[in-house]
Subunit: 203 residues, 2 copies
Amino acid sequence: MNRDDLLLKQIQPLLDYFDQLIPLNIDEKLLVTELFKPRLYRKRQYVLQEGDICNQFNFIVRGCLRMYKVDDKGDIHIIQFAAENWWLSNIGSFHDRKPSDLNIDALEDTMVLQISHENLLSLYTKAPKFDRIFRVLIEKSFVSLQQRLLQNISSTAEERYLTFQQTYTELSTRLPQTQIASFLGITPEFLSRLRNKQVKRKS
Amino acid sequence: MNRDDLLLKQIQPLLDYFDQLIPLNIDEKLLVTELFKPRLYRKRQYVLQEGDICNQFNFIVRGCLRMYKVDDKGDIHIIQFAAENWWLSNIGSFHDRKPSDLNIDALEDTMVLQISHENLLSLYTKAPKFDRIFRVLIEKSFVSLQQRLLQNISSTAEERYLTFQQTYTELSTRLPQTQIASFLGITPEFLSRLRNKQVKRKS
DNA sequence: ATCTACATCAATACTATTTCTTGATATAGT
DNA sequence: ACTATATCAAGAAATAGTATTGATGTAGAT
C-alpha cells in the first residue's frame, strides 16, 4: 500500500460520514483529503490545554476524548465525551481565537482527523457545501447538549445515569465509572451505589 | 493567592536558577516572568515530534523528559534525559528553524517553563545579560554531551552503566531500566544481567 | 425533626499495565 | 573457542488505575 492509499484509508470514515449527511462530489472529497490531517493521541494526552487557543476541529475515527473544565477547587467536570464518528473541539475558542478555558484529553488511544481553523475557512470558501454540512453537524451537537442540560436541571442522579446508559449504551460500559460520574456530576462512590441498586433490583 | 502570585510561584525555580548563574535585577526578572510560560506535559506526551520545528526552549521545573531518535528499524535511541533544573530542546531545529529529526516526550508528568524562539530573541535584545547566561548554560550542556560521547566510544556497557549511576545517581533509580538501557545503547535484558552481576559482586 | 439525595473520607479489593527477570539460543568480533 | 552482546518468549513482580464498601456528614424538602 503506498502513501496515498494509506491516507485515503485513514480519511475514509470521514468521507463516509459526510456522504451520509450530504453526498460529496469528487472535488469535495479531494479537498477533504487534503485539508484534514490524521493524528494519533495517546491515552491521557492533551488535545487542548486550558490557556491555548483551540486551533483544530476534531473528528474521532477511533478512541474517545473528553472535554472538561477544572474548577477552582481543582475538581474536573466533564462537558462532553466524543467517541467514534463524533466531533469535538472548543468551538468558542476555535471561532473567537481566544484562549480556551476548557481542556480536552484522550481517555483511550485516539485517532482523529483534524482540520485547522485556517484550513476550515479555506474549505468553506472553496466548497460552500461544507457551510451546510457543518451547520447540520453543529445543530446535532447543539441538540444533544440541550437535552443534557434539560436532564441536568430536571432529574436526579439516578435518572440521569439511566438516560446516560440508554443514550450512550456502549460508552456506559466502555468508560471507567470515574469518568461517567464526573460527567453526571456525582461522586464515583455514589455512582457505584446507584449501580449496585440497579443490580439488586434486577435480581 | 491571586493569578500573579501563582505565576510568580511557578516561575521561581527558574529565577533561582538564573540567579545562581548570574544575579538578575528586577527588570530582568520581570522579563523572564513575562516571556517564559509554564506548561504541563503528561507522561508519554510529545513535547516535540519529528518533522515539527522546535519552537520552544524548555526548562524543567519537575518531572523528566527524554530526547531521542527513532532509527530506520524503529528502534529508539535516547540522546538526553532532562529532569529538574535542566534545559532541553532540539537546539539545531530551534535555531535553524528547520524540521526536527528528534523527538522529545515526557517520561513522567512534567512541568516546564518554556520560551518561544521569538521571545528568546526578544529577551536577548532587551537584556543582553541573557546572551551570557544562555552561553554558559549551553556550555554546560555541551560539556556533559562531550563526556557522554567519550564514554560511549571508549567503554563497555558495564562501565557506561557504572558511570551513569555515578553521574545521575537519582535518575538511575528513578527511571525505568528500559529507558536507561536505551540511553546506554544496550537491550533492557542485558542491563538486567549487568545489574544482577553488580548485586552478586556486592554480596 | 426527619427523610432523601447526595457528599466525604478511608480502607480494601480488584484489574490492568508496566517493568523486570530469566532461560534458551544466536551472532559478530577477537 | 571465548567474550560481549542481541533476540525472543514466558512469567514474575511492581505499580497504577479503578471499583466497592462502610462510616459519617449535610442541605433542602416535607
